[in-house]
């Protein structure tokens, strides 16, 4: 079961970091990441639930705390139109042979802010 790792506020720019020891600059072309809404009372999206938003993916160099990886970003404007609630997020990787891997998902709780 996915764990709620991130609490974000509707209307803010969402940034989520991923550590990936196989990340390469330019490898963004092989990655996709989406948010899908989780209905109240459920722990995962219904199969027919469409993507709520697509995350922009950029290579993230290593820093003092984390190895290389990716930075997933959703613009504030795109975040504003999302209803508050829980969203499942993951990262889909397609290698050059066509093999697909989807990483273990996490839950983003999008809360209603005081200031929009």
């Amino acid at each position: 079961m996915a764990t709620t790792l991130y609490t974000r506020y509707r209307g803010e720019t969402i940034t989520i970091g991923v550590a990936d020891t196989g990340a390469l600059p330019g490898g963004e072309a092989l990655m996709t990441s989406s948010l899908r809404s989780i209905a109240a009372g459920r722990s995962a999206p219904i199969a027919t639930t469409p993507d709520a938003a697509s995350m922009a993916i950029a290579f993230r160099p290593a820093n003092g705390s984390f190895p290389i990886g990716w930075l997933l970003t959703l613009d504030a404007a795109d975040c504003t139109v999302l209803p508050s609630g829980n969203y499942l997020i993951d990262l889909k990787i397609t290698d050059e042979t066509g093999a697909v891997t989807i990483m273990n998902p996490a839950i983003v709780m999008l809360a209603e802010p005081a200031t929009l």
């Binding site: 790792l5 550590a19 020891t21 330019g26 490898g27 990787i93 290698d95 050059e96 273990n104 996490a106």
Partner: protein, 139 residues
């Protein structure tokens, strides 16, 4: 075999949600190409190398001025016959299996006539057949 490890960077600062992938061959990325320095400004017959090419890749070019060619070395050669001017060249590198193939690089090459000092460019050569001395001026 090495494992590719993918984890969320949680707000707590911890790495969580480990996903591992048996490491596949790292995708080779194509980078910017360049001509060895002498190739950027051409005045007379010259040759050099194309820098930055990935092993096993193929390179094609468009926009080449007359007299300038590329080869599979990969390299370039200029026979001195081009008209003076500035030329925008596009090099396209392709490599099977590369993430960003084909990859293009734009380069500007200038052709300038050599400085013509009095008599400096006279080329005296002996004709093999007639034994006459011929003088030609080259630009």
């Amino acid at each position: 075999m090495t494992l590719r490890k993918i984890q969320w960077i949680a707000d707590s600062g911890l790495l969580v949600g480990l996903t591992t992938i048996g490491e596949f061959a790292a995708a080779q990325l194509l980078g910017a190409l360049s001509l060895s320095t002498a190739g950027l400004t051409l005045t007379a017959r010259a040759s050099g190398t194309i820098l930055g090419a990935a092993s096993g890749s193929a390179i094609t070019a468009t926009g080449l001025p007359a007299g300038l060619t590329i080869n599979a070395a990969p390299g370039w050669a200029y026979d001195g016959s081009g008209l003076a001017g500035s030329y925008a060249i596009v090099l396209t590198e392709t490599l099977s299996g590369s993430v960003n193939s084909p990859h293009t690089t734009s380069i500007t090459v200038a052709i300038t006539p050599p400085a013509a000092g009095p008599g400096a460019m006279l080329d005296f050569s002996r004709s093999a057949n007639s034994g006459l001395i011929a003088a030609t001026r080259s630009f």
